[in-house]
Every structure is written in C-alpha cells, then in structure tokens.
C-alpha cells in the first residue's frame, strides 16, 4: 500500500470557506475590517465561553495577539421580558424583575417598586424603606462576591472563588430566611416589602457583618500581593472619564475612571439620604481600579447595613393602601372588606393612574432605571429596563483595543457582566 502523501496546506481549506467566514460575521464584524484578509484574523469568542459568564459572543479582529477591533454580539438570552410585562398585572411583574439581573434581585424589585409607587403616589413606611436599604446593600455584597470569585477564577486564582462563595452562602441563607427564596427573592413589592423578617434574623445579619470586614481583608491578602494578579490587572483595559461618559458607562467602572457619581448619594431614593457612607472613586481607570473600587464598596455596604440595623424604625412594612396591597391573612378571614379587597386585587389587579415615570437605583453593576408607562388600566402599558451592563458593553471595544487577547478576559471580568440584564 503506497504511503498517503500529506495534504497540501492549500487543499485543507475547503472551497468557499472564505464566503462562509464572511457570512458568519456579516452582521457583527468589527467596523471597516475584512473578515478574510492577510493582515488580520477574525476570532470568534463565545457564545459558550466560560469567561463571558453567560452567553456573549465576541467577534475579535486580531493582528497576531493584539486586538485591532472587537464587536459584541448579544441577544442569546433574550426572553422578551418587557413584552411579557405588558400582559401581566402590576404585582405580577415583580417576580419577573428578579430574573433580569439574577445577581441582584432585591435591587431589581426595588427599582420596579419605586417606579410603580411613583405612579400611584404611594407613601412607603419608613421601616419598609430601611429594610429595602438593608437588603439592597446585602445584595450588593452578594453580587460583588460573585464578581470577585469569578473574576479571580478567570485570572487563575481558584482559592478566592471558594472563599467568596463561602460568604455568599451565608447571605443566601439570610435571603432565604427573609423571603423563602435564595436567589429569586421577590421580597421588595409594590407598596413595601413582602414579609416581616424573622425575629432572630437581625442578630444573624449582625453576626455576619461583624466578621465580614476581616473576610475582605482575607481576599485582599490572597490577591493584593500576588504578582500574577497585579500583572494581569494593572494598566489593563484603560477607560478615560470622557469615554466612560460618552459611552454611557455607570456604576463601579464609571467611578473607577474618576467620575464621582453614585445614584444613592446624588439622587437618593428609599431613605438613602439618611445614611452616612463614602463613595469610592479611583483615577486610574484600569481593571485594577475597578477591583479596588468594588472592594471598598463592599466595606461601605457593610457600614450602611450596620446603620440600617442600628436605626431600624418600628412600624408597618407596607403602605396603608388596602386597595393595592394584599390584606393580612388574619384580617382576610375575619373582615368582609379585606376579603373583598383580596379577591379584587388577585383577580383584577389594581388600576394605576395614567402617566410615565422613571425610577433609578444604584445596582451593584451600575445605574438601573425602570421606565414604566401606564394607560390607567391594571396592566402596565410599557415597562422598559435600562440596565447598566447593556451600555457598559459598548465600552468593551475601547477598553480592549490594542491589548492582548488574554486581557479581554480580565476586562470582561472587571465590568462584571451579567448577560441576563443585557439581553432581558
């Protein structure tokens, strides 16, 4: 049997392969680049890539290992939540908001509740507002822990991931104790919060908060002096403040670029004006700065939580609006009027005065706005979420251009991407 000759390199390229490449990136290829050229190479990264934390596809044009241009292709997780909201009663939208940014359900709930309350012109009792602040900040810590763990894992530091998830487990148990759910909490409702926390819960939260600052020191002890961590993060993915503003970047990436803006402090909602906290800002603008800013934010969130626990007012946890808020179970069994209200709210929902409002909160990933339009019926006419990741993703190309391909992983980690909120 004659030996089979090694195929010529030219023959290995199937005929027409260039057309296939052109077609596959037709809608998403980076501007001005030819997907089949002698100078550069098109690399398809994702949608199933572990560092994209979901399903994000990046079409990257490479010159050797250097990134010439980059175009994100999103929509793989698009489930049409905004369309579904239009077919639900106002109260039924709350559980769907959990699933948008699945790392900070409490923040989503709060943003939606604030918008509808603004339409209804409802006054929320102080205790409910403080509970919202408490759980918003615990959610911020929880979300940042997931970010730190996965970011470090992407860079190659496995231990931090395990440590972060150890503390996150404590927080998820707290969420379970208060709402019955670990992740999709639906705790913050229109008109207040769902339940009064269990009696011993504040003591458990206090115990967690007491030990948590030392845990942050522990993470920093693992990372701050690690030469690989420093090399991979410092002077990588620079974003200037001008670009950050022009591209709509918000949250920790904006503050890491030196723009001092935080919705909690500058446009306070839900009694945030009564809390003392610092807003960490860095002028460096690189991946390292985003790391430092988020670590400091966790410390500040711990302080806010302690203030909330110390000054937690007594009183009702829902607004006094029987036609909007489901009555107490006991009252429903004994009072005719409560029974009627319960029946009507469940079967017909509640009507919301016509109008359009925007609510804005500082989510762990940045500024989150809910735009709710009402036509006076029991179902929202339009619900739109402005999520931070969607805008921040536009800045990815600016941050990655001219860097090495391995830095894309570090930059994606540093903007704390959650595809659920981007695709909705």
């Amino acid at each position: 049997m004659p030996p089979i000759a090694a195929p010529d390199a030219e023959d290995m390229i199937a005929p027409g392969v260039e057309d296939v490449v052109r077609a596959s990136v037709e809608h998403h290829h980076p501007h001005g680049s030819d997907p089949v050229s002698d100078q550069t190479m098109i690399l398809n990264m994702g949608p199933q890539h572990p560092s994209t934390h979901g399903v994000l596809r990046l079409v990257i044009e490479l010159d050797g290992e250097t990134i010439v241009s980059l175009a994100p292709d999103i929509g793989y997780l698009h489930t049409g939540i905004e369309k579904t909201c239009e077919a639900k009663f106002y109260a039924q939208v709350t559980p769907m908001t959990d699933r948008i940014d699945y790392l900070c359900p409490m923040t989503n709930n709060t943003a939606y509740a604030l918008a509808v309350e603004k339409l209804l012109e409802l006054e929320i009792p102080e205790r409910a507002q403080w509970l919202r602040v408490l759980f918003n900040e615990l959610t911020r810590i929880q979300s940042h822990l997931v970010w730190l763990g996965t970011h470090a894992l992407d860079i190659g530091a496995m231990t931090v991931f395990l440590y972060c998830f150890r503390e996150r487990e404590d927080l998820l148990r707290i969420f379970e104790a208060v709402s019955g759910q670990r992740m999709m909490t639906s705790y913050v409702r229109v008109g207040g919060v769902a339940l009064e926390p269990p009696l011993d819960l504040f003591a458990i939260i206090r115990k967690f908060l007491k030990s948590f600052p030392s845990k942050i020191d522990e993470y920093e002890g693992l990372l701050n002096n690690n030469p690989i961590w420093i090399e991979r993060l410092q002077n990588v993915g620079y974003l200037s403040p001008e670009n950050a503003i022009a591209l709509g970047v918000t949250g920790p990436p904006l503050r890491a670029s030196g723009v001092d803006f935080d919705v909690r402090r500058d446009m306070p909602y839900s009694s945030y004006e009564k809390f003392q906290f610092k807003v960490p800002v860095s002028q460096r603008g690189d991946v390292w700065a985003r790391y430092i800013v988020r670590m400091e934010e966790m410390r500040e969130s711990t302080k806010i939580c302690l203030q909330a626990l110390d000054g937690m007012p007594e009183g009702r946890i829902v607004a006094d609006a029987p036609k909007i808020i489901l009555p107490d179970r006991e009252q429903m069994k004994t009072q005719m009027e409560s029974l009627i209200h319960h029946f009507k709210i469940v079967t017909e929902g509640f009507q919301v005065p016509a109008g359009e409002v925007t609510s804005s909160v500082e989510a762990p990933h940045g500024m989150m706005n809910y735009y709710v339009v009402s036509d006076g019926t029991a179902k929202p006419y339009r619900v739109h979420m402005r999520n931070p990741g969607f805008a921040t993703l536009q800045a990815l190309e600016v941050m990655c251009k001219g860097q090495l391909i391995a830095d894309v992983v570090a930059v994606i980690g540093s903007i704390d991407i959650v595809l659920g909120e981007i695709d909705r």
């Binding site: 809608h27 998403h28 501007h31 999103i74 929509g75 698009h78 049409g80 905004e82 369309k83 579904t84 239009e86 077919a87 603004k118 339409l119 209804l120 012109e121 409802l122 006054e123 503003i245 022009a246 591209l247 709509g248 723009v259 803006f261 500058d266 446009m267 607004a319 006094d320 609006a321 029987p322 036609k323 909007i324 009507k344 509640f350 009507q351 109008g355 359009e356 409002v357 925007t358 804005s360 500024m367 706005n369 735009y371 339009v373 006419y381 339009r382 739109h384 402005r386 969607f390 805008a391 993703l393 536009q394 695709d423 909705r424």
Partner: protein, 169 residues
C-alpha cells in the same frame, strides 16, 4: 376601582403644556436650553418631559448637552397603536453635575424615520439598534443598524402592540 386612591400624600400639581411649564420652571437649565425646540412639555411626578419635533431631535440633544445634561441614559419607544403618530421615542438624559434627569420625547409615525443621535452620544448606538430591532423604527445615519436582540432573519418587531404576546404570528 373607579374611586381615587385615598391613602396618598398630597403631591405638587402636575403642569401640562409648554407655556405653563416654562412659567413654572423658569430657571430650569433644560427648559431654557431647549426653549426654541420644545413643542410640548410636561412636569409630572417630579419629572420633566419635553416634546420636540422629530426633525429637530439631533439639535435638541445638542442643546441638552450644552445645557449641562452630559450623560445619555436611555432610549426606548412606546407603541401607541392604533393612535397616530404611532411611536413615542423617549430619550432620557442626565446631568451628572445638576443631578437632574429629563425626558425628551419625539413622536413619529410608522412610515417616518428619525435621525440617529450617535453623533452626539455614542452611547445611543446599542439603544437605537434595540429600538430598531424590537419596534422597527429606522434611525437615519446610524453606523450599523442591525438587529441586536432577535436573530437576523427574524420577521416582525416583537414589542409592537400588534405583535402577539404568545403563540405564532
């Protein structure tokens, strides 16, 4: 529930109409900056909504930017089908310095196009693609107006009111 909700606090009266809002918010940076372009205005629930003609949207955005509203937040559409003009485009811009938000609204019909504002705010890029994808509004002068959420070969625009919530078209 026809009767009004009783358990609410008294809020400042909403103000409708250009002249009334101009009188009410005489020292507002946005009202002054856009005074020539506003066709209608609304001050409701502490939020300022300024309506401009769709042809002047780029000029309005530049005027807002000059007036200190330096941060583009959001763009979305509302489909008022079957009313004409059909689409309400709501631009939300923020001033990081004044810590104020305004909503700039332009109304267009199905057959009309509107100019892209990506020359003023590059951040509008993805938002215009999203509105194009889900509502079918065309933005003239956009650098790459393709579908962003739905697959490229998708037919129809899901967030239009005549598009069913469930089932097949």
């Amino acid at each position: 529930m026809a009767e009004p909700i009783t358990d609410t606090v008294a809020t400042p009266q909403a103000v409708f109409g250009k002249d009334a809002v101009t009188a009410e918010l005489a020292d507002n940076a946005a009202v002054n900056g856009l005074s020539k372009l506003i066709t209608d205005a609304k001050w409701d629930r502490g939020e300022l909504t300024l309506t401009v003609a769709p042809e002047t949207i780029v000029a309005a955005m530049q005027a807002a930017q000059t007036a200190g509203y330096n941060f583009f937040e959001d763009l979305t559409a509302v489909d008022w089908y079957p009313t004409a003009p059909r689409f309400q485009l709501s631009y939300s811009v923020l001033s990081l310095k004044l810590k104020q938000r305004i909503r700039i609204v332009a109304r267009i019909d199905e057959s009309q196009t509107i100019a892209s504002i990506t020359s003023v705010w590059p951040a509008a890029n993805f938002y215009e693609r999203e509105v194009f994808d889900l509502f079918g509004v065309t933005f003239a002068g956009h650098p790459g107006l393709t579908r962003i959420m739905m697959p490229e070969n998708w037919e129809g625009h899901p967030l239009r009111k005549d598009y069913p919530v469930e089932g097949y078209r």
